[in-house]
Amino acid sequence: MTATAPDAGLAEQFERTIARDQRVEPRDWMPEKFRATVIRQIAQHAHSEIIGMQPEGNWITRAPSLRRKAILLAKVQDEAGHGLYLYSACETLGADRTDLTERLITGRQKYSSIFNYPALTFADVGVIGWLVDGAAVCNQVPLCRSSYGPYARAMIRICKEESFHQRQGYELLMTMMSGTAGQRAMVQDAVDRWWWPVLMMFGPPDRESANTAQSMAWKIKRHTNDELRQRFVDMTVPQAEALGVTLPDPDLRWNPQRGAHDFGEVDWDEMKQVVAGNGPCNAERIAQRKAAHDGGAWVREAAAAHAAKKAGRERTVA
């Protein structure tokens, strides 16, 4: 507890709110570390949504039909929306939008390492929907009960919309699996490339996760990384069977004693490398985000100038 003596009553009230499973709201007193932790988590989440537009955005012009193009466009638009809901939640804690964007493009704040992998074929679009968004849903559903009110409310909206993302991906893959041998091979190849990075989305193993214990105590997080990873594997195995693809893990098998699947060890060194900025697409993703931000500067300035001029005219008339 970081509270000093004058805050004692407030700190007690904060702890009571958490203990009663009530929500902490923006203007409530909260420990500085709680504020910093929630800002860090929401900002990282918002950045992930924004960067997450890129791997699939690249496929919009190359989608094989108007139907797929319209779906993909709507999905990428949703990712932008999710980023904005989350930036909005983050701003309730006193974070500044311009500052958040700057922290992203200068690499001072992270985003999910999954988006540093390339989307090489159209099957990747399906696998991203099925596995990446599936893992995201698994992570996010418990966050709808997160102790910080604006974050929980943003997550409720996001989870409703993610369900479309996952289903369109799976449907896309089912269509490809009923196609030619070449198309089926393309799906299997995409699954082989994405499976392990997707398991990394749940974060480091509990034994190495520095922030988990405090975040759980404050009910910012509701489950540990390993719990969610296990839940995701158990959910995905039957989906893979129904689809007719193999998950690329020789150690993956049902364990009747545990009532859960055993699975192989994630390559944590690879994860550390990608988080540290050495993944296949880190530099490209940030460069593209920076180019979009810099390229939009004149639009932001022009709109602000127009608004100021219009407000001036209205004042003169009045």
């Binding site: 407030l10 709201e25 923006p26 203007r27 409530d28 007193w29 709507a74 638009q77 949703d78 929306g81 904005l84 809901y85 909005s88 939640a89 701003e91 309730t92 804690l93 006193g94 974070a95 500044d96 939008r97 311009t98 500052d99 604006p150 409310r153 943003a154 919309e161 932001r300 300035e301 709109a303 602000a304 127009h306 608004a307 219009k310 407000a311």
Partner: protein, 103 residues
């Protein structure tokens, strides 16, 4: 949401707006979140694109966050105290015999 916070680092950026949506006719407008826009007209368009992509609304209000006056959470108890001890404002305060109809 962000009505509660200051505007941050003083750099030139679009102001923050709070967004309220009427889900359908017969319901009140409800606060859904915030966004940045240069003026009210742009705030409305952005709110439409951001908060009503799936027919969530039939009417939108946008309000500059800086224009909202809010009660302070620190004075929560004293501020709402006037209603706290007035149980007689609720219908259940009054005992009416069961055989009296339509009450």
């Amino acid at each position: 949401m962000s009505m509660e916070t200051s505007t941050g680092a003083g750099r030139a950026s679009w102001p923050l707006w709070e967004v309220f949506i009427r889900g359908k006719r017969g319901l009140n407008h409800v606060h859904v979140g915030s966004l940045h826009a240069a003026d009210g007209e742009m705030a409305l368009r952005n709110a439409r694109d951001l908060y009503t992509r799936r027919n969530e609304g039939v009417s939108i209000w946008v309000v500059p966050s800086a224009s909202i006056t809010a009660s302070s959470p620190d004075e929560k108890d004293p501020f709402f105290a006037p209603s706290g001890d007035k149980v007689y404002r609720h219908p259940t305060f009054y005992d009416i015999p069961d055989n009296v109809p339509h009450m």
